[in-house]
Amino acid sequence: MTRYNKDFEELMALQFAIVELNLFLDTHPDDEQALRDYNRLVEQFEMAKKAYTEKYGPLVNFGYGKSKHPWQWVNEPWPWDR
C-alpha cells in the first residue's frame, strides 16, 4: 500500500513538466512556444501549491508556505514514507 493521493500526484506531474521545460529553455531561451507553455504550467502549479498548502501545510521549508497551528511542516508522511 502506498500513501500517494491524487492532489499529491497532480502536483508532482505538473512540476515535472515544468522541470523539463526549464531545462529546455536553458538551451533554447528564444523559444516562445516553450516559454508560453512554461508560464501556463507555472500558473497551474501555483494554484495547485496554494491549494495543497492550505489543505496539508507547507510544501517547502524556510518561508515558502504558511502553517496552521500546530506547526505543520513536521507532519507525516515524509516523501520516502509514502
Binding site: F16, L23, T27, P29, W78, W80
Partner: protein, 210 residues
C-alpha cells in the same frame, strides 16, 4: 541556497521486499556514475562557465540530480524496510547490513564507499561538458543493467523514469556544448589556441559579449 520540497520528483511505489535488489541499486546511490557523483560534478562546475545559460543548466541539472539521489535512497529503503533478518542474511545485502543496517549508505553495488575520485572537473568548459555527456550515457547504461536485474514492476517504473532523465540531460549538455564552443571559438580564439577561460569570462562581464 537550497530549499527542501516535501515531494519526490517521481513516485516510488516498490511492490516487494527484496534486499538483493537493494544491494544492486546502491550502485546509483554511491557508485561512480551514480546520482550523487552527478550532482556534485555539475554543481561544482558552475563557477567558470563562460555563458550564463550554461551556469543555469548546471545549476538546474545538478539540482535535479540531488532529487534523483533521494529517489534512489527511497527505493533502497523501501526494498529493505520490512525485510526480516532471515531475508537479509540470505541476500547480498547482508554485507551492507553488517556495517550500516538498513541505512541506505552511499557505496556502490560492490561495497566500495562513495568518493569524489569517481568524477572529475577541470575548470575547462569543453572538457567538463564532455565529461558530463559521458556520465549521462554511463548512468543510462547502469539503469538498463538494473532494470534487467529487477522483477519489481514498481521499481522498474521509477528506474525507467530515471533512465529517461539521463537521455534528456545528455541532450541538453550536448546543446550547451555547441553553444559554448560557438561562443569561445567565434568570438575569441582559433580552435587550436590555448584558452584562458577566466579571461574570457572577464571580457564577457565587461562587454556583455555573447
Amino acid at each position: 541556497m537550497f530549499l527542501y520540497q516535501k515531494t519526490l520528483q517521481f513516485p516510488v511505489k516498490v511492490e516487494t521486499t527484496n534486499p538483493a535488489l537493494a544491494a544492486l541499486i546502491l550502485e546509483q546511490l554511491g557508485g561512480a556514475d551514480g546520482e550523487i557523483a552527478a550532482g556534485m560534478r555539475y554543481l561544482t562546475q558552475r563557477y567558470y562557465m563562460p555563458l550564463p545559460e550554461a551556469r543555469a543548466l548546471l545549476t538546474d541539472i545538478g539540482t535535479e540530480e540531488l532529487s534523483h539521489w533521494e529517489i534512489i535512497a527511497t527505493i533502497v529503503w523501501k526494498l529493505v524496510e520490512h525485510a526480516t533478518d532471515e531475508q537479509i542474511k540470505n541476500s547480498p545485502y547482508a554485507q551492507h547490513f553488517a556495517n550500516h543496517g538498513r541505512n541506505p549508505f552511499p557505496h556502490n553495488a560492490a561495497g566500495v564507499p562513495f568518493t569524489a575520485a569517481f568524477f572529475n572537473a577541470k575548470t575547462d568548459p569543453i572538457a567538463d561538458l564532455h565529461e558530463n555527456m559521458a556520465a549521462e550515457q554511463k548512468a543510462r547504461a547502469t539503469y538498463e543493467h538494473l532494470i534487467r536485474m529487477s522483477n519489481d514492476r514498481g521499481v522498474n517504473q521509477t528506474l525507467s523514469f530515471l533512465r529517461e532523465r539521463e537521455v534528456v540531460h545528455f541532450q541538453r549538455f550536448g546543446e550547451m556544448l555547441d553553444k559554448v564552443q560557438d561562443y569561445i571559438y567565434s568570438k575569441h580564439r582559433r580552435r587550436d589556441d590555448n584558452l584562458d577561460y577566466h579571461r574570457i569570462r572577464q571580457e564577457h562581464d565587461r562587454y556583455g559579449m555573447r
